[in-house]
C-alpha cells in the first residue's frame, strides 16, 4: 500500500515538474511555430542568474528570483529579435539556429567551469511532512501547488486578457490574426519572453532539488520536447495531460526497472508518438502537414 501512495504522490509531483518545464516550450511553439531548442539553455541561464544574484551580489532570495526571471525574459526577447526572427518560417533553420544558441550557451557555461556540486540553490522552506504515511519535503509541495496555480493562471491569462487572446489567435490562424490587427512579429516576441520566463520559473522551482549542472539543460530540453510531442506540438491542454502520462510512466519505470531507464521512457515516447500519430494526443495540425 505504501508503495502505491509513494508512486501516486511522487508521480504527481514529477508530472507537475514536467508540465512546468514543457509549458514554456509549448507556448513558444504554439504561438510562433518556432521550436525553441534553446529552452534548456534558458532554464540553466536563469538558475545561474539567481545563483549569482544570491551568492555573488548577496541579494535576498525573493528579489533575486524576480530579477532573474525578468532578465531571462529579456534574454529570450533578444534571442528572438536578433536571430530567430530572421529565420522564421524556415523550419529547419529555426531548429538549427535555436539549437546553436542553446549549445553555445550551455557549452559556454561548461567551459566556464560550471559543473559539479558547487552550484546549488537553497530550498524555499526546509522540512518534511507526511502525506498518507509518505515523507515529502515541503519544497516539493510548493512545486506541486505553484505548478497547479501556474497552469490555472495560464488558462485564465490566455482566455481573459488581450495579450493572451492575441497569442491564442495567432496560434490558431496567423493570417486571420494579422487581418484583425495583431502584430504577429511583436506577439511572437511576447510569446518568446513568456516562454523564457516560464523556463526561468521552472528552473527556480526545480533547481533547488538538485545541483545546477549543464547536463540538466539537455535533459530539460529532451523532456520538454517529449511532453510537447506526446501532447501535440502547440496544444497546451495536451502538454499538461502528456506531462502526467510521461511523469507517471517515468516514476513507474524508476520504481520497477531502475533510474537508468527514466530518460529511455521519454525518448521512446517521442519516437513512438511521432511514428504513430505525429500530431500527438491533442495536436490541431492537419494530418497532411506533418506526414505524407
Amino acid at each position: 500500500m505504501d508503495i502505491l501512495f509513494e508512486i501516486l504522490i511522487y508521480g504527481s509531483i514529477h508530472s507537475i515538474s514536467l508540465a512546468l518545464i514543457a509549458l514554456g516550450f509549448a507556448l513558444v511553439y504554439g504561438t510562433s511555430r518556432v521550436p525553441n531548442f534553446a529552452h534548456g539553455a534558458l532554464y540553466i541561464i536563469n538558475g545561474f542568474i539567481v545563483w549569482s544574484f544570491l551568492r555573488v551580489w548577496g541579494l535576498n532570495y525573493f528579489l533575486s528570483v524576480v530579477f532573474a526571471i525578468i532578465v531571462t525574459g529579456l534574454i529570450g526577447a533578444l534571442i528572438y529579435q536578433f536571430f530567430l526572427i530572421r529565420v522564421r518560417g524556415m523550419a529547419i533553420s529555426e531548429i538549427i539556429a535555436s539549437y546553436a544558441i542553446g549549445l553555445a550557451i550551455l557549452e559556454g557555461f561548461r567551459w566556464g567551469g560550471f559543473k559539479g556540486m558547487t552550484y546549488t540553490l537553497p530550498t524555499f522552506i526546509q522540512g518534511t511532512i507526511f502525506v498518507a504515511g509518505v515523507p515529502v519535503d515541503l519544497h516539493r509541495i510548493i512545486v506541486l501547488v505553484s505548478g497547479l496555480a501556474l497552469v490555472g493562471f495560464l488558462w485564465l491569462f490566455t482566455h481573459y486578457t488581450r495579450i493572451g487572446l492575441a497569442l491564442r489567435g495567432m496560434a490558431q490562424d496567423e493570417r486571420a490574426a494579422l487581418m484583425l490587427g495583431i502584430d504577429s512579429d511583436r506577439m511572437a516576441v511576447v510569446a518568446m519572453v513568456f516562454g523564457a520566463m516560464l523556463a526561468g520559473l521552472a528552473s527556480v522551482l526545480l533547481l533547488p532539488l538538485g545541483n545546477i549542472v549543464v547536463e540538466t539543460g539537455y535533459n530539460v530540453l529532451i523532456l520538454a520536447i517529449a511532453v510537447c510531442i506526446v501532447g501535440g506540438l502547440g496544444s497546451w491542454v495536451g502538454a499538461v495531460l502528456a506531462a502526467f502520462i510521461i511523469g507517471f510512466a517515468q516514476i513507474f519505470t524508476e520504481v520497477f526497472l531502475g533510474t537508468h531507464f527514466k530518460v529511455v521512457v521519454a525518448l521512446l515516447a517521442i519516437i513512438i508518438t511521432l511514428i504513430l500519430r505525429p500530431s500527438g494526443l491533442f495536436g490541431q495540425q492537419k494530418e497532411l502537414e506533418e506526414r505524407v
Partner: protein, 339 residues
Amino acid sequence: MNATHAQRRRERLDRGLKVRSEGIYALMSWRELVYLTLPRLILIAGLLILPFLMPTAYWQRVISIVCIYALLALSFDFLAHFVGLVSLGGAFFIGTGGYLTAILNTSFGLPPLLTIPIATVFGAVICTLLLLPCLPLRGVYFAIVTLMYPLLLMRVIEALDILGGTDGIVGIDSFANRWIEQYFIICMVLLFLFGMRRVVNQDLGLVLRAVKDNDQAVRASGISITYYKTIAVFISSAMGCLAGAYLVHLYMWAGLSTFALDFSILPIAATVIGGAGTLVGPVLGAFILVPISELLREFGTLRIVFYAIILLAFIVFRSEGIMVYGQRKYHQFEKWTKV
C-alpha cells in the same frame, strides 16, 4: 528623385566562357577545357597531396577525422537538400556502423578489409529499417526523431550494460600502415563526392528532388515516394556507417562517444558554411571547420561554443554558404546597369 540622377542596379550575367564550355565545343579549346576541369583537378590533387603537407602525424590524423566529417556532411547534404529529409542523426549512422565493425572485428575476428564493407552495407540496412517508420514524417518531425535516435541507443546501451556498456569495446585492429589508413578515407571521400554528383543528376536524383519539392505531385504520377526515400536513406546512411566503421578502426575503440552530438552538429555546420545543396560545399566546410576546432582543442568545450556561433552566424546572416558564392563568382560576372 530627380531625373538627372540615374538609378542603377546590379546585373548578373553568365560568363561567355561558361556558356561556351557547356556544349561539346568545350573539347576544342584548351581554355574551355581548363575552365571545366581546373576546379575539379585542384580539389582532387589537393586532397591527394594534403597528407604530405602535414607537418606531424597528429595533423595527418586530423585529416582522417576531417574526411569522416566530410562523409557525414555529404550524407546530410544529400538527404536534406536533394530529398528534403533533414536528418539530425549523423551520430546514429556513425554509432551503428562503428559498433557493427567493433563486433565483427572482436567477436568474429574479421580483418578491416572485410569489416568495413560489411558494416557499411549492413549498418545502412539497419539504419534504414529503423528509420523506415519515420519516413512519412516531414520537416521538423523527421528532424526531431532522428535527433532522438542516437540519444536513445546511447541510453539503452548504458542502461542494459550491453556491448561493453560505458567502457565500450576495446582491442579493435588498426590499419596495416598509416598510408593505407590515410588514403583509404581520402579516396572514399572523393569517390562518394563525385559519385553523388552523378547520382543526383540521374533519373533517381530527379525523382528525389521532385519528392523534395512536391511529394504529392510525385505520388500523383504513380511513383512510390516511400520507395525512393528508402533508397535515399540507404545511400545516406551507408556513407555515415562507412565513416563510423573507419572511425572505430582508426581509434581502435568503439564506445558511447560514437553517438556523441558532435557527429550530428558538426556536419550540419559544415554544410551550412560550405554551401547547402552543392555537395562539394559540405566537404569544403568540413575541411575548414574541423581543423579550426582541432586548433581550439586546448580550450575544451569552448570549441563547441565557437562552432555553434559560426553556425548561427552563417545560418542567420549568410545562409548561402561559401561554395554557392564561389560558384557564382566563377560562372558569372556582375555589372551596373541603368534602370
